[in-house]
Symmetry: C2
Subunit: 529 residues, 2 copies
Amino acid sequence: MFEEALAAFRTALGADHVLTGDALGRYGADTLPITRQIPAAIRPGSVEEVQQVVRIAAAHEVPLYPISTGQNWGYGTSQPMRDGSVIVDLGRMNRVVELNSELAYVVLEPGVTQRQLFEHLRQQQVRLWLNPTGAGPDCSILANTLERGFGIGPNGDHFMAQCGMEIVLPNGEILRTGFGHYPGARSTWVYKYGVGPYLDGLFTQSGLGIVTKMGVWLVPEPEAFEACYFMCNSESQFGPAVEALRGLLFDGVFRGPVNLLHRDRVLIMLERYPWDALAGRQLDEARAARLAHEKKVAIWNGVGCIAGSREQVRAARQTIKRALRGKVSKLAFLSEQRLAILRTFPKAISVLMNVNVPELLHSLSSSYGMMRGTPSKVALPLAYWRNRRGTPDTDDMNPARDRCGLMWFAPIIPMTPRDVADFRAVIEPIMRKHDFECCITLTAVNERCFDCTLPLMYDLENPAEATRAMACYRELSERCAEAGFYPYRLGLQSMEKEVGRDDIFWTVATSLKRTLDPGNILAPGRYAR
Amino acid sequence: MFEEALAAFRTALGADHVLTGDALGRYGADTLPITRQIPAAIRPGSVEEVQQVVRIAAAHEVPLYPISTGQNWGYGTSQPMRDGSVIVDLGRMNRVVELNSELAYVVLEPGVTQRQLFEHLRQQQVRLWLNPTGAGPDCSILANTLERGFGIGPNGDHFMAQCGMEIVLPNGEILRTGFGHYPGARSTWVYKYGVGPYLDGLFTQSGLGIVTKMGVWLVPEPEAFEACYFMCNSESQFGPAVEALRGLLFDGVFRGPVNLLHRDRVLIMLERYPWDALAGRQLDEARAARLAHEKKVAIWNGVGCIAGSREQVRAARQTIKRALRGKVSKLAFLSEQRLAILRTFPKAISVLMNVNVPELLHSLSSSYGMMRGTPSKVALPLAYWRNRRGTPDTDDMNPARDRCGLMWFAPIIPMTPRDVADFRAVIEPIMRKHDFECCITLTAVNERCFDCTLPLMYDLENPAEATRAMACYRELSERCAEAGFYPYRLGLQSMEKEVGRDDIFWTVATSLKRTLDPGNILAPGRYAR
């Protein structure tokens, strides 16, 4: 059966695009201590080939697992949910199908990376920004959107900024959502809902079809843009700062999500784990405090952006200053002009302001650039925190290839100081108990809640530490559920248990999947039973 | 079979809540020249009773048609898609289940009206605003959201401002979306997507379940708020004004949707149709121009709002002035203070500014109030335009009861002057040919498209005119489809034809419906085959 399927795939795609054996290496690389049996990977080059692929799979009852660029770090990378799934690598389908500079959108295929779109926009000389995720320049925009990922700054809720899909259904038919199924429709990429049931959500965090095209809204470069950085030097400032932040978000002062990074989250991006001193134990408070002092990292470090007309940006600056007065230890705004000054006079400013300007520039430029649509690897070094092999140049980072141990736990927390305190009271003892650093970022994905991203970094090559990481994840997930905090996204480490709950939601999700995919050929086990 | 079902409904709900015969009058009243046979209406008072209702209906194969307040004016009011459907009137379920003033949301049952929530917020003394639709104070908030309706001002995209649902499925089970299906979840009403496929969209514009609770995000009263009014006295200003408006929307200058009302749309809200002079013919250009001159109505009349801190509102005002300079004939901002001055010195200002202040105040106060969350009947008089019986006091308006002829055609248009011109070139000759006024409003529901609402007003009691209205609708809908413009919403006048198209989207929508509703008991024919 399987051999016949392979032969049919070879006929349909050409032998070069059907990989087996040693050629599968990269698809098995993962930052989780989990290994799936992957019998083959196939690389269709067009929608028609994807249609052939699902038909062959259905005929031979071979499960498929579609990936775009396979960089789902910390959630399973390229690995399928179940053993025996054939990887459908959509990386060859990497066209920017349409770019509309007037209405500020693009239509993308799955293989288009953040870097590629960034370069494309530059080449076309259109003043439009994408909103990058922290997963790095080589990550697929379409795939991150389907996982409902996010960035900071304008259009940071990626699913919110998605409009229109083309989907190959498990039966090989093509479904176009929104108005896309109507001939000659003009509003496919400018109005999300179309008419009748709004179906796009069904194809996010699911396996009901293979999305082969997606409309993505971009941000027209505003007249003025500044990044806003603020710091709380004591935990007592955190509550009032969160209340003030929520008010600012309600008033639309910030453009898009704002990040609050805990001290330790910043440290692990700047430092390497001191193996000699700690030997697998967590970073202790005294050492963390000393490092933070050296690097001028506060207990809480906020970053968001303001954009619009010159008047709007000035008003936003004034409003933020007024709202955060007394609630933060430091508040600074960064513009292109100020960055240029720092770049021109690094030494003088280092002395004058008692900061290490080159080091500051490195981290500031990256987060500043990310908010203006420049993808960056600034968030990737954290994956290398407990990697004993050392850390490559940032530009060359690939956490799965380099055998980094990384697992994300990402629950949603209502945006109140009380909810955050309750949440920390649950997770901090668990992290301590399992000897991992508690490096949280709270991202205000809307005005009412935080998406907390908590990375578990461990030594993937030390089986005991990997087992401890899995146990820690399990405990986090169970205790948080008891306290009412649930994750916005699942990975290989948690999928089966989560969807296996006795719960009408997962029953409905599974029955909708079976309607479109009666043979359960497509990504079996992914966000469904 | 049907009599047995009725008996079972009586046992479950009490005889008082099962209506037949003459008691059905209000459910058959409609602004369309279409009459459905309605055998009964039942009024469950709780979620448990709704569960019983769907189980009884399934057992006896009796189709149901749920309504909330039954005020879907111009799309079918309370009438079901198919003859023989029992109306499930959810009006008794009208609790505000939860009000969270810190995180600015409410959880509502289907029967909660705009007026009721407005009063509730006032009684509770919380400074939160809802976003009303133009359908009037007695319209259900939940139902308008399920139809993906909209208003102007903050949170104007009602489905965007919806978070979390409780749904009685056709099998009687209860599905809670987002995180709502998890015990003790804290983020059900603050994070839209939950984990796994995002299902809420499936339950909008559909008949897959009866939504019995919904989270609705409210707007915390901002420090400052102003309405912005602008006018174009010539069509040549329209294109540049649209381009400028799109730029302002991209920069987040306006809070929520902005309306562009054509002259004739404003006139029909202010005037009555001159039967003696026109006798069923459309308002001619000379008369419209004269009326517009008298009433000081421009060719295009824009309204939107700006809100936030005092600094932000000032900056928005400056930015709008700069962007619209030379592109509009008039630009004015209205605040509470200015309204108070107008109210205090109506005569002096009337003389000084050469306007009729009391008349101005009436229309300004309503649109200004709507944007600040005060529901109003300001948009309802248009339904009475060709009603020969005359017009009741605005407070007493009910277009279906008063036998107004009203039918909405509401296609989506990309936000470019060229697309709007193409669209008008299609519709204007059709409206002229059928002798109806072309009274469009363009609502910028997002930064990239307009929702064009075009009302067909006709004399419902004149069969020839009603037939002409139906023919006009058909032609609008067909010619617009050929030109690429499709409606965002369907009514009784268009549903069957639309969902009957040979189109994979409607096939998929129908098969998803059959999965949850194998007996096709719930709202058969509604946004599915």
